[in-house]
């Protein structure tokens, strides 16, 4: 195991994060505050509680997920896309490192950054609403799995994308709509029956539901199902990355 290589990649990536610290932390915090002001206070005060949870508190897990997903994807995808774009990826490819070591370095750094942002949002939210976390262990488990899974997913996008447009495309056109339609701002009980059924095909619903369950014990779907779906997605991403490295997809001719 080349632990020095993992350390080196992780350190370099975290250094890159530090250089862009303000923008990478300020923007999710700012947007979270805006969501709370608009949805939590202004509109939320006119919405009755959902499953016994005040609306402002209800949206916290969903908002965290929204930031975590977008941040994980953008950190990890940029982390590998940029070396590919500038050509510096030659160094990783010619180094005595395995696929696993590369992943741990890059995805580990992206995950760390997402976790930091998640915690900051949680603290920010606690200023606006009364937070209660019923199952801290599962909350952390969901948090960690989500960050890892979507950092891996971002890594795949970064490997696949050969220009900046493609890099933005998937987060913008697929992830953001799925998060919004996955029950960030509502419980799917509030939807007409047909849309409730359609929502069940949205994988992010399971993630958000499970995460919210760890806070308030209210969920749209069974928490075991949520856990299985999240872990399944993580594994699927890991397999795809492994396959991409093995075949040298978009990395080696």
């Amino acid at each position: 195991m080349n632990t020095e290589a993992i350390k080196a990649i992780y350190t370099a990536e975290m250094r890159r994060t530090r250089n862009t610290l303000l923008q990478s932390i300020a923007s999710p915090v700012l947007s979270t505050c805006l969501y709370f002001i608009v949805f939590g206070s202004a509109i939320g005060s006119r919405i009755e509680s959902v499953g016994g949870v005040s609306y402002g508190a209800f949206i916290v897990p969903g908002l965290m997920m929204l930031s975590l997903l977008t941040q994980s994807i953008s950190n990890a995808s940029f982390g590998i896309f940029f070396p590919k774009f500038t050509g510096t990826v030659y160094e990783v490819l010619s180094a005595p490192v395995s696929f696993f070591e590369v992943i741990v370095g890059y995805v580990g750094a992206a995950t760390t950054k997402s976790l930091i942002i998640g915690v900051i949002i949680l603290i920010t939210a606690s200023f606006f609403v009364d937070l209660r976390i019923e199952h801290p262990f599962w909350m952390l488990a969901f948090l960690l799995m989500t960050c890892v899974a979507f950092s891996l997913f971002g890594f795949i996008i970064g490997l696949w994308a050969d220009n900046f447009e493609k890099l933005q495309l998937v987060p913008l056109l697929i992830i953001t709509p799925l998060v919004f339609l996955g029950g960030t701002f509502y419980s799917i009980d509030m939807l007409p029956p047909l849309w409730q059924k359609i929502s069940l095909f949205n994988p992010l619903l399971y993630l958000i539901s499970g995460f919210r369950w760890s806070f308030y014990e209210v969920a749209d779907v069974n928490v075991v199902l949520s856990l299985t779906m999240t872990a399944g997605f993580l594994l699927a991403c890991l397999l795809v990355v492994w396959y991409m490295f093995k075949t040298g997809y978009k990395l080696k001719q």
Partner: protein, 317 residues
């Protein structure tokens, strides 16, 4: 090191057998390349653009998958034992690929880590010193000039103390002064016992610094030999006979010598093979005299590596 034993008597540090590469578009960039690289030598791989130099290096270093054949570095297979083989290799790529805002010392430390070596700021510093980069240690790499960037890439390649260094066109697009600088750097590295393989399309570069020269064209190694041997073996010598009085044509008794008469009619050129047992010069000179031509002067010249290269590549295509 190199004084103790001639390089070619030792086991090769890089051994390439039957290497082929066909790119996805069907282009055959390497056709059955066989090559031994000896420890401690400077090997110049000389070839025109598109000859396959970068492809060859990229396969050895793991950037491109070979279609067929085998490579070992220090006895380790470059695919099955990639960890051991890659630890021995440093690569300076053809393109000036460097991140944007990274600091010089950080990017060199990153390279060292990637190759599994523990942090060692003193060593990194001494490396930067050797490459005249010390005062640039905390500059962002994107602020450096092209020549300095190349030096940073060399520092990165040497950061894990490799035994074999590949330099892919280290002086392409570099002005004459920087090129001489680079040659000095390469010379010092060799003195440290590093084996160096450099690709180039500048013949004068191969002539100036290489111990051995391989000529590659269209995916094939046409010839590889010690630089001097190559020039002796493939080089032609020319004898120019200046005449006291100009003549209109070559006199009949001299016709079978395949001489060339210059346009002024006052000089004959005789081309001969250096290796030939009998060059025929004595006979020729006698014949010239008996034909009644007066000699003014004699001079010989030997063809350069450039002539050899041009001849080889022209004959090949």
């Amino acid at each position: 090191m190199s004084e103790t034993k001639p390089a070619h008597n030792r086991a090769p540090i890089v051994k390439i057998r039957g290497l082929t590469k066909t790119y996805g578009n069907g282009h055959s960039a390497l056709k059955d390349v066989n090559l031994d690289i000896h420890e401690g030598e400077i090997l110049a791989v000389l070839g025109p653009n598109g000859a396959g130099k970068t492809t060859l290096i990229s396969i050895i270093c793991g950037l491109v998958n070979a279609t067929g054949g085998s490579v070992t570095v220090g006895g380790y297979d470059h695919v099955k034992q990639y960890r051991q083989s890659r630890e021995l290799i440093g690569l300076v790529p053809q393109e000036l690929a460097l991140g944007a805002f990274e600091l010089v010392e950080n990017t060199v430390a990153l390279s060292r880590g990637l190759f599994g070596k523990p942090r060692n700021p003193e060593f990194v510093n001494s490396l930067l010193d050797k490459l005249s980069l010390v005062d640039k240690a905390d500059s962002p790499v994107n602020r450096l000039s092209g020549g300095m960037k190349r030096r940073v890439l060399i520092a990165k390649a040497l950061s894990h103390e490799p035994r074999v260094l590949f330099l892919d066109e280290p002086t392409a697009g570099v002005d004459v002064e920087l090129r001489k600088d680079m040659w000095a750097v390469i010379d010092e590295l060799r003195a440290d016992g590093v084996t160096i393989i450099l690709t180039t399309h500048y013949i004068e570069e191969a002539e100036a610094i290489a111990d051995r020269v391989g000529v590659i064209n269209d995916g094939e190694i046409l010839v590889i030999d010690d630089k001097q041997a190559l020039m002796d073996k493939l080089g032609k010598k020319q004898l120019v006979i200046e005449l006291r009085e100009s003549i209109a044509s070559i006199p009949a008794p001299l016709e079978h010598y395949s001489l060339q008469l210059n346009s002024a009619g006052d000089a004959l050129t005789f081309t001969y093979d250096v290796r030939a047992e009998r060059t025929g010069i004595t006979q020729l000179l006698n014949a010239v005299q008996s034909a009644g031509l007066g000699l003014k002067d004699l001079s010989t010249s030997q063809s350069s590596l450039e002539d050899i290269f041009v001849n080889l590549v022209a004959a090949d295509s």
